[in-house]
Subunit: 216 residues, 2 copies
């Protein structure tokens, strides 16, 4: 049963499959072929079949895939029905938005604690969740054992904070602070989110794209 390693490219596509299939299911669509799905998602049918077969034969020859079943399978693979205990540190503009905007339940996570260093922020609450002071982080972690931490703190504070959290048992970081987080220990997972990098990809494209309208 030694599952062979799934390639990172496939893994990165899974959430997108899950999203599209969820929407199809909501629309009441029962079955879909790899060809139809490929047109919808802008991939090739071949790639979809290849990707899905990394995890098992979810389809049926001559029929295609059952939307609901496939969606649930992929959800299972991603672990969306788990409740990964998650904390968020840093409730500035971005932390506030990340705390409120993301559907944690839908991603297999449960937000169990908010923390900020600023004593004027700590003590308040956000959507009914109290914001704790970072001084209480160690005690909280010992008691609640979060395994995932979302960092929305300034770049300067992130590395030391992450180090502390690893010592407290945190095994995964969703890092919104500027500057990449990296651990030698492959047991610590990191997703560095760099919004500016994504925006710069657009400005690069604009520079090379022929202006659609060069009149005036």
């Amino acid at each position: 049963m030694a599952k062979q390693e799934i390639s990172p490219s496939v893994i990165r596509r899974l959430p997108r499959y899950y999203r599209f299939l969820g929407e199809l299911r909501e629309k009441g669509i029962v079955r879909i072929s790899s060809k139809e799905l490929s047109q919808l998602m802008g991939l090739t049918a071949s790639q979809i079949r290849q990707d899905l077969n990394c995890f098992g034969g979810f389809g049926q020859q001559g029929y295609g895939y059952n939307v609901r079943a496939l969606c649930e399978e992929i959800g299972q693979i991603l672990g969306v029905s788990l409740h990964r205990r998650t904390i968020l540190i840093g409730l500035g503009n971005l932390g506030h938005a990340i705390a409120s905007h993301v559907s944690y339940a839908g991603c297999g996570c449960e937000l169990i604690g908010l923390f900020d260093e600023n004593p004027f922020v700590a003590g308040r609450d956000l959507n009914g969740m109290p914001i704790h002071h970072t001084d209480t982080l160690a005690g909280f972690c010992h008691q609640e054992q979060p395994e995932l931490a979302i960092l929305c703190v300034p770049e300067s504070a992130a590395p030391a904070l992450a180090q502390t959290l690893v010592a407290l048992g945190v095994r995964a970081f969703w890092n919104f602070s500027q500057g990449d987080l990296r651990f030698d220990d492959p047991g610590i997972l990191v997703e560095n989110v760099h919004l500016a990098d994504s925006l710069l990809t657009l400005t690069y494209g604009l520079l090379r794209q022929p202006e659609s309208e060069s009149d005036s």
Copy 2:
């Protein structure tokens, strides 16, 4: 002078090079070899040289790269000193954070207008910038000619809004609404940002990672 096409993989790495080089420069570091940079960034030296050579010979044999010069070259390639006229639509939690948190000037953009559909939000201002009602979008675009739009609206509103904006001359979208935006016209650029996809990558990893501590 027909520049040969640069591969998407290289382009996606450019902002990260730019970021690391900027930090090195701030630290006062004058030169760096591909080997040193590779260790810092977690890449191979070979890849760095390969990537940079897509754009020209920025280094010097036996010496390495001049940090400041290289940083400026890459900034040039990305267009960071331009002022792409940019608007943002949808000032909910996320829109608010995206408007405030991102360094537009540092990304070659200039935020020239904020819009929201809600009449209680429109009329207010954010960091001194007035929030306009979406009804005034067409007039604004005719006058101000934005070329980039940031969408922080609900998924249901995004496609129609994007269509309208294209008709008004917008050529690039930074899309934070759920659901992918896609245009047949290759002249319209889209960056779909899916925060949940990134989080799901972590939960997937947690499921496969051996628990670091399986005591208690």
